[in-house]
Symmetry: C2
Subunit: 228 residues, 2 copies
């Protein structure tokens, strides 16, 4: 049995963990635990997830997978949440993330000097933590496996399953979930999107992020000073 | 404002609606409503969705989107659920589905004579309802837009957004969610998966489906007799 924990929080991007959750729960001997501080319900884009495990009480897991989202700024500033992330990261065999979830791991101090993926609009912030931003959709550095923005969670999940159970199992899950993507447009990356559209989306994302960039920078500065 | 309703039920495949939910909630003037019979919590693969709208009380919507999953057999047999699906389908501008959700629409009697997509392992059951099974990932037939198995919901969502708001908006959402898929394997369709693996997955799915195929056939037979 392999145990994987998703530590979620309010305004997590729900798809960051619901994709890996769907892929991983296809496998009988993988136990998937979705947890929150105090086991409280989590609201995300209008959905409410309840019946969550109490993150404070989980001692260890084989795989830690931190999802991202706008709420990750609050989560990174939440000492109770981060205490659990650090505790689980300290014992996990694999440290993993989807989207801006890599910033959570970075803020936990466990990615320093390593390469990691992140959502394209947030990726540069990894540098604040001494982490090397990598534009790959699935980035592997030792026991650290990180996925890019949101939907990269599907490709990440197959890579993780292949690592845990072999490529036959990963391919079986791919078939069961009919993951043969055929997007009707080719705008999934800033390099392929029409530039005016890319600039508009970037502006929107920065507006939504608000002072998040500054706040994450402050956390990174505190971490650097504490470990200097 | 465009209103879209996802009528969910226990053991829906959560990704069938969480993907479109994430894509559609990126757009400010689309109202996404996730509803269940009586507004009861819905359990799916270990996740619990709460704070749901009461499906019984929703009079109409612009877009109806039925998700699939093993639980759809029970849902199709649930008269209270199907009464709401038929009421909403009767007034909706677009009838849409992901995965075996097209069987829900078929069982509501609103797809007869039309083409529809479905999960590859369930697709043949559409014929029982006089619906033409189509192996496309996104299938459009008039105001009916249906997606294939589970992850097809991403491609379906972009097509739906392009229809509702134009291709620029769809491309902006694609970029925001970094939907530039790069699966590490090519086993997402029965035509591309290694045949022994395909047969093993098909056997597993049939075991999970149990007597679902027979039960869906009975519903189809009842519908045919009622409308003969």
């Amino acid at each position: 049995m392999t145990t994987i924990v998703f530590p979620i929080y309010d305004e997590v991007t729900q798809l960051d963990f619901t994709i890996p959750h769907q892929f991983l729960t296809m496998i009988p001997d993988i136990k998937v635990i979705v947890a929150s501080v105090g086991g409280a319900d989590v609201a995300a884009q209008g959905l409410v997830f309840s019946n969550l495990a109490n993150l404070d009480l989980i001692e260890e897991c084989d795989v830690l997978c931190t999802p991202g989202g706008l709420g990750c700024v609050d989560a990174i500033e939440n000492e109770r949440y981060m205490t659990s992330v650090r505790r689980l990261a300290g014992k996990a065999k694999y440290l993993t993330s989807v989207c801006s979830g890599s910033l959570v791991l970075a803020a936990a101090g466990v990615l320093k000097g390593h390469r990691a993926a992140c959502h394209w609009a947030w990726r540069d912030m990894l540098s604040d933590f001494g982490v090397v931003p990598d534009a790959g959709r699935i980035v592997r550095d030792g026991n650290i496996i990180t996925g890019g923005g949101v939907t990269a969670g599907a490709d990440f999940s197959l890579a993780l399953i292949a690592e845990l159970r072999g490529s036959d199992t990963a391919q079986a899950v791919q078939l069961a979930l009919e993951y043969a993507p055929a997007p009707p447009f080719d705008s999934g990356r800033p390099e392929t999107a029409p530039p005016p559209l890319r600039d508009a989306v970037m502006a929107q994302m920065n507006a939504l992020l608000g002072d998040g960039r500054r706040r994450i920078g402050l956390v990174a500065k505190g971490l650097t000073e504490a470990t200097a």
